[in-house]
Amino acid sequence: MSKSFLSPLFFWAVRDLKRRPLESCLLTAALLFTVTLTATPLLFTQAATTTWVSILAGGPSLVVREFNTMGWAPIPADESVAIAKNVTGVIAARARVWGHVAGPSGLLTVIGIDPNRPPPWATLIPNEGEVAVSVDIERDLAAADLTVIGQETATLKVIGEFKAHTALAVNKALLVHIDNAREILGLPSGYASDLAIDVFNPAEEAAIQPDLAAAFPRPVRITTRTESAGIHTAGLARRGGVAVVILVPALLALCLLVTVTVRERLGRRFEIGLLKALGWTTGDIVSLQALRAVTIGITATVGGMFVAFILVYHHDSNWPGIFYTEWQNLPTRLSFNPLDLALPLLEATGLVVLPFLVATIGTALRCAVSDPGEMLERNYF
């Protein structure tokens, strides 16, 4: 007769769970819910950070803006590009036209596109008088036109919407012809909002700044990709951290309930006394309880992580965007990196499952080392 790979104690533990199905299911569900609550904000933070970093990786290494006493100032496009390209380490420079305007439902970002040199990410190229809009802009869908108010008021013909999966990158954004963008934003012809610069080596992002600033005849502010990523990810991490901290009292309460349930379960010391009288060792009894707790813990962890995964990554799920970033009705599609699961998994295990296992095994150990005769004499029927 072949021996099973699994210990017989494991089957005892499963049978023990099946003896009290309601109690076992409630215990597993409580732990699963707790794991989900803990893991979801962390997983969302990780996923959004990964998405931001991947979006920014496709963007410029540095952004240069000119400033004067009134604030930021338009930058002469061709002259600035020529100055930047003359600085050692700059491999590409392009002037960008963009800014904020008032739309039908609040502030919108206008991005000017030159149809002769469209950026690779632009799937819709608007001609003069046309506009492509992001999916989150509230507008009259029946109307073919969209009116925006900047330095000038313009009514533009809507030619389409960006795909939903671009929502994180083009939040409340309008793509218009570069000349229209200049008119709406009040930029003189030949001027741009800022300069996007690429360098080959990431170490140059910081090192090139003094040379770049010195090359321009007017004061400039330079923002690196690392700084941009830091601004976005720090905000997300703060929100995720606050969410977990807020949840800690609830988690502790749940853990306490679970621990009390476990103690109640192990309070039936008559059973343990009987097992010891039948020849079970202390190790056998502790192993049985440990296997029982591990079975529940693993089921709850896997289930909880799965629910958290679905909540965060399901592409029709828009609540994380609403909850964490104040976007409305925005279906976010977040980038998935398997390593992003590691931190939420560790934290959920450490905060929820580990205390449960420690409480169970500790209580089991205390019971198991007691005198069996004393345990049998106590009437727990």
Binding site: S2, K3, T88, G89, I91, F200, N201, A203, E204, I208
Partner: protein, 187 residues
């Protein structure tokens, strides 16, 4: 006693798993075979001298995956056009100094060293660039030996990152390497 272990299903499963893990570690070194030297890159340089690094290409000096450090990667093409890719310029220079140890090739077989210029990423012949040691640039193997092209780029690099020593590839020998790094190139 061995029979008992082997007849125990759990023990035999653990032993099998351990054997598989050990094989996974040692098969690559067996496959190379004694005396055959390191495995060259899967693709050689193209006619314009550009590198074609594949995910499986490993640095013959340190064993790291070259594709993970593309911005610092470099290559040596041998006379028979086989190409070895390196994770960093430091590894490439060590192989250039000691091809018999790291590439199982003689010095006369060394044909072209290819490096990525620090500022532009252009792929250039390593004999045409200035090499800077002792700067604050850190590569995959620690403090980097940085190739820069032209006097203007060299001045900009030294202004931004410092650098104790500037040399040309033709000036590099074991003594120079020791003076730059404080270690022998073979260690």
């Amino acid at each position: 006693m061995p029979d008992r272990i082997w007849n125990c299903k759990r023990c035999s499963t653990i032993l099998c798993l351990a054997a598989m893990v050990a094989l996974a570690f040692f098969i690559p070194s067996w496959a190379a075979g004694p005396g055959k030297g390191p495995t060259p890159g899967r693709k050689t340089l193209d006619p314009s001298g550009r590198m074609h690094i594949k995910a499986t290409d490993r640095c013959p000096v340190c064993g790291m995956r070259v594709a993970d450090y593309v911005k610092f990667s470099s290559a040596i093409q041998l006379a028979d056009n086989t190409t070895h890719y390196f994770c960093s310029c430091g590894c490439m220079l060590r192989a250039w100094l000691y091809p018999d140890i790291f590439l199982a090739a003689v010095r006369e077989d060394l044909k072209t060293p290819v490096v990525r210029e620090y500022f532009t990423g252009d792929q250039l012949d390593g004999r045409t660039v200035f090499w800077v040691a002792g700067s604050d640039v850190v590569g995959p193997m620690g403090p980097a030996l940085v190739p820069v092209m032209g006097e203007k780029a060299l001045a900009a690099f030294k202004r931004r990152h410092g650098g104790r020593t500037v040399f040309l590839l033709e000036e590099l020998d074991p003594d120079k390497w020791f003076a730059i790094t404080g270690r022998k190139a073979t260690k």
